[in-house]
């Protein structure tokens, strides 16, 4: 399933994008095991007090590792380059389609918006212009939507990329079966890939989403409109939104934390608590890797992502003890665990447990009540 705002791909553009997907999979499946074996060979051992850092340094002394890291980064750069050129080619058509969307929902931009410093430092995922670049249209949002679906390798709901949102809904069904939110907010909604399925699951609710970029949000509004979903989008900072205390029943984030900073994570959790009405629910979904259970290669991989794919708070986000952090900002009945990746939420289907089934098959979820 697709939607009217999704940038199209010509014959050659499609091949370029499929090539990037396949190159990424090949590098991960065929070459990464060799890098892992090399890391094990260079491991100074458990007695080292800087085991990960030492191994990471030693890996960089080997040109074969450097080349792999370099081509891996090149695959990401090729992806954005291919999608960016494709979107530029059809820019006028995208603006026309956006303007022709049914008048559902709204967008509130903030001309005095200040970008969080962690996003000003580098473009997350190496996407040129980052989440925030202003192009007076919907171009950057289109790049993020099409590129994001390619980046997820088609494993998160294809071009709708809605697996995380549907997993949020399933978590509500699993852990809060009688909960019926009337007012919903996503912190860091991006182009609305996760927010649209949450809104669709609760059609009576008033639904809001905030993020940092004007272009991204214009695209998000047009995309939601063409999908027939009414969402009120606003430019805002997840650490300090403009909404009143206790004004939402459900506040959630979906893989937001690892793109913030170590100090921002606690403030986003506190903000999600401040915004909840008594009895309201906050859900924070993250990647299924957890730092404390990771082997050496998992930790090395986290450093590679942080250094060569601009994932600024990867280690902080997967190392946070969310049960402690959420209780400390006033949440009650906090649950922490893994929600099976879900593409068709069903009441009574459950799917929440202490065990991860792995990347793309489970998501880490921490939730609690106000």
């Amino acid at each position: 399933m697709s939607h009217a705002m999704l940038p199209k791909a010509s014959h050659d553009e499609l091949t370029e994008q499929l090539f990037v997907r396949d190159l990424k999979v090949w590098l991960a499946d065929q070459v990464e095991p060799q890098a892992r074996a090399l890391a094990d060979k260079l491991d100074p051992g458990a007695s080292s007090n800087a085991r990960t850092e030492t191994t990471y340094e030693r890996l960089h002394e080997d040109a074969a590792f450097r080349d792999w890291a370099s081509v891996r980064r090149a695959s990401q750069e090729l992806m954005w380059d291919a999608v960016d050129r494709s979107v530029a080619r059809q820019r006028n058509a995208l603006e026309t389609t956006a303007a022709a969307a049914p008048q559902l929902g709204s967008l509130m931009l903030d001309p005095n918006f200040v970008l969080p410093p962690y996003l000003a430092e580098g473009d997350v995922h190496l996407m040129p212009g980052g989440y925030h670049v202003e192009d007076d249209g919907v171009g950057q949002g289109a790049v993020m939507d099409r590129g994001g679906a390619v980046y997820m390798l088609g494993k998160n709901g294809g071009f709708l990329n809605d697996g995380r949102g549907k997993t949020i809904v399933q978590h509500l069904f699993a852990c809060y079966p009688d909960f019926q939110p009337n007012r919903i907010l996503e912190l860091g909604c991006g182009i609305g890939a996760s927010l649209v399925p949450v809104a669709a699951a609760f059609p009576e609710a008033e639904v809001h989403g905030i993020d940092v970029g004007a272009s991204m949000l214009r695209y998000a509004l047009a995309r939601a409109r063409h999908l027939g979903v009414a969402i009120d989008f606003a430019q805002g900072d997840a650490e300090r939104t403009r909404y009143e205390n206790a004004s939402f029943d459900l506040v959630f984030s979906a893989t937001l934390m690892h793109e913030t900073s170590a100090s921002a994570i606690g403030r986003v959790l506190a903000e999600s608590r401040r915004l909840l009405r008594p009895g309201g629910v906050a859900i924070h979904l993250e990647v299924p890797q957890r730092y404390e259970t990771m082997d050496l290669w998992g930790k090395i991989r986290g450093k590679i992502e942080a250094d060569y794919n601009n994932e600024p708070a990867w280690a902080a986000a997967i190392g946070t003890d969310y049960a402690v952090a959420m209780r400390s900002v006033g949440f009650a009945d906090v649950v922490v665990g893994y929600q099976d990746a879900c593409f068709a939420p069903k009441r009574d289907a459950g799917g929440f447990s202490d065990d991860s089934k792995g990347v793309f098959r489970s998501w880490f979820v921490a939730s609690g009540r106000a």
Binding site: H11, D22, Q34, A35, L38
Partner: protein
């Protein structure tokens, strides 16, 4: 794919990175040469124009064959990358 070849001597004064890059460029060029001549043959035999190519959508079987072609291209061109890391990891530098 087979294991990396044993006894592969360095070219004196050439970095291993340059060596790999040249290997990949050579493989890439060979693939491009094959592709260009195949495309030329198609054009000469059929007279298919650019609009027809844009309008073409492969069926499931054709898509699977095209996916296999793309994966084969990646595995061939980037093989030096994999072999070099396997050599480093295995100790046969």
């Amino acid at each position: 794919m087979a294991e990396p070849v044993h006894r592969r001597l360095d070219v004196p004064s050439q970095t291993s990175g340059e060596d790999r890059l040249l290997g990949m460029v050579a493989a890439l060029t060979s693939e491009l040469a094959v592709l260009r001549e195949r495309l030329d043959t198609v054009e000469r035999l059929s007279g298919i124009d650019a609009a027809a190519i844009e309008a073409f959508t492969p069926d499931a079987e054709a898509q699977a064959e095209r996916d296999a072609l793309r994966l084969g291209l990646i595995a061939k061109i980037f093989r030096p990358l994999k072999d070099a890391l396997a050599r480093s990891a295995g100790g046969n530098r």
